[in-house]
């Protein structure tokens, strides 16, 4: 089939088509009141299988609800807490192994690696009891924007959110924008750090600001938080002993479940996965991150030269074949562009772009209309 240059179509040549790739970022703040409080947990979905808990941004029975993230607990088989008396231990180990298999992979013997606290995959410290926060694809899109993740937890010893003075600690992807690790089968990841508090009355209560407390897997959209994050130093955790209830090291650390005296190790041993998820979910005060959408575009440079497209086949353009916009042969023809159609060789209209207002075309002007098609 012949292609017409002068006519209604103009051929796009190789130099008229360019492929580009752009990363789009959206800032996503998730306030803690949505995660716990506002909807009286009607937006929290627990399943009969009990393997994880889903958090929505609205009561999940509503069609308006959007999935935000899933929360679950994993315990490695070598953990000192993996005693037979532990509630749902099989499921907790199953969750750990599943997540570790996907995110950390296997070693040379085919055994599932444990999560490595420093990401070196050597014999160093392993994260053996941890929470997994699997963010919805709706929010993370293609991946977390590196260096943007931040999560704030309440650190009042008894867990009462409104108590004064406010005590908080922040988990942050501190170095993601500068460096990250690539030795995971699930893509790029980095180490999360417990940083100093943003609360004005809480300064100095952390034992060691900027200590590693978990991992963030960018493409997988998964955050791994060590359970030590919720323990005080005297219990082998990362938080200051100042947070021990009753004062001194003899008392218990952060009370993770309101109305009981469970601290984190008690929660891991004695609570179900959903109960464990409740414990830390209620301490989340804020989550914020930027997502990334990798946008692949093809830009078609529709070059409209001075001699191109100055006439129209619009039925109102003529009356008895005579043009309305010209009365003498010396008048310039004129037409108005509102639409760009992109066609196959078979004359099928494959894509279409609209202008915001009519664009006047005469032999005295020319345009290059850059039409972007995103994939």
């Amino acid at each position: 089939m012949a292609n017409s240059f002068f006519g209604t179509f103009k051929v796009l040549h190789d130099n008229d088509v360019q492929a580009t790739r752009t990363n789009l970022h959206e800032a996503l703040p998730v306030t803690g009141t949505i995660i716990s409080g506002t909807y009286a947990d009607e937006n929290i979905k627990n399943y009969s299988h009990g393997m994880f808990q889903s958090v929505f941004d609205y009561p999940y029975l509503s069609s308006s609800a959007n999935h935000i993230f899933d929360l679950t607990l994993g315990v490695a088989s070598g953990s000192i807490l993996s005693s037979s008396a532990t509630l749902q231990m099989t499921q907790k180990q199953q969750m750990y192994n599943e997540m570790a298999l996907v995110l950390a992979g296997t070693d040379q013997t085919g055994s599932i690696r444990k999560f490595d606290a420093d990401g070196r995959l050597n014999d160093g410290e392993k994260i053996k009891e941890c929470y997994f926060m699997n963010m919805s694809r709706l929010l993370t899109k293609d991946e977390f924007d590196k260096g943007s993740f931040e999560m704030t937890f309440g650190a009042n010893p008894t867990g009462s959110l409104g108590s004064s003075p406010l005590k908080q600690f922040v988990v942050r992807d501190v170095s993601g924008s500068d460096s990250y690790k690539i030795n995971s089968p699930a893509g790029e990841y980095n180490i999360l750090y417990l940083t100093s508090s943003t609360g004005v009355d809480y300064s100095g209560t952390l034992v060691a600001p900027d200590v590693a407390c978990g991992l963030i897997y960018y493409q997988a959209g998964i955050v791994v938080l060590t359970s030590s994050l919720f323990k005080v130093e005297s219990s082998g955790g990362l938080l200051s002993n100042d947070l021990v209830v009753g004062g001194g090291t003899a008392g218990r650390g952060l009370i993770m479940i309101s109305g009981s005296s469970y601290e984190m190790d008690d929660v891991i041993v004695s609570s179900s996965i959903s109960g464990s998820a409740d414990a830390i979910r209620n301490r989340i005060q804020n989550i914020s991150f930027n997502n990334t959408t990798e946008l692949n575009s093809t830009i078609y440079f529709c070059r409209v030269n001075s001699n191109d497209f100055n006439y129209s086949s619009n039925p109102t353009y003529i009356s008895s074949s005579k043009m309305r916009v010209k009365t003498t042969q010396t008048d310039e023809p004129v037409s108005y562009i509102t639409t760009v159609g992109l066609y196959s060789n078979n004359n099928e209209l494959l894509a279409v772009a609209k202008l915001s207002e009519p664009l006047k075309k005469t032999p005295s002007n020319d345009y290059t209309l850059r039409v972007r098609l995103d994939y």
Partner: protein, 345 residues
Amino acid sequence: MAFLDNSGDIVLDAVLTDTGRMRMAAGDGSFKIVKFALGDDEIDYTLYNKNHSSGSAYYDLNILQSPVLEAFTNNTSIMKSKLVSYTRKDLLYLPVIKCNDVIFPTIDKNSGVSSTDIPAGGYIITSDQTTSDPSNFTAGTALGSTAAQDGVIKGRMPFANSSSPIAFDQGLDTTELSLQKLQPGDALREDQYLVELDNRLCYLASPDDPNMSTPSSFVDDDNIATYYFSLNSDSSYFAAPDGSTRRVGLYNTNSQGDAGSLTKADSTVIGNSNGGRYGTRLAFSIMATEDLANSTYLFTKLGGTTASNYLGSGAQFYYIDTTIRVTGFRTGHRVDIPLRFIKKV
């Protein structure tokens, strides 16, 4: 010295049409953009006021204020009128395509038909053998006559014949120009056509032999079939060269003859006996599909039933109203012809 205004840089976001998505999903390489066209569907050029009292800056003020619609994703609902490129800037007349209701008159030209419910300029097509057989209807009526009847196309064999091809004339439809032909090579002379129709209802066939179906170029996701005709490669669908006796009549399409050989006797609808520029003439037969012939499903889904004694035939019919669209590939002009498929209840 001030900066130049570069805010005129135009970047447009395109959306895939439904056909584009279908081609992309096919994954067979059929999604390949190779050309573009510009459209002006929203523009009403009658708003162009060359006599505006405030001067030329106001000629197109109303046009430039025309709101532009968002893109339709249905490929047949957008780009209905395209902008056209001609190297000449001195053109005052542009070609049109008109259904030739002289060669084969439309239903409204049938003196025996008082009302058909379809718009003027259309045709009625019988969809099965029973409806095509004149012996099944009141003798002498539009459907009951053995002779060819104006506006009635026998859409099924063996009653379909070459006496009822639909013809389209192209050219400059004006009496302000002398009677001449548009010569081969003239940019105003259309030599390629696109015909779009509903593939569920009908298909095209040779104007000489309705038994010879025409292959379509493609069928889109909405079952709209597109046929492509080129004067060079499909000359049997164009008016015969001088001296031929084809049913669609002379139009000197392929000849280099002078204007003197053309008269109104060539049954043209372009211009009149004193003026006009004749371009090309396209013709084809329309046949009803097997689905229409052997089932009433599409009739009940897309159409309805006529009153009794429709067309004076003494019978009632299922019907479907549709259109067939003929577009000049190079000149862009298009015409929609209403069609009514009928089937005896």
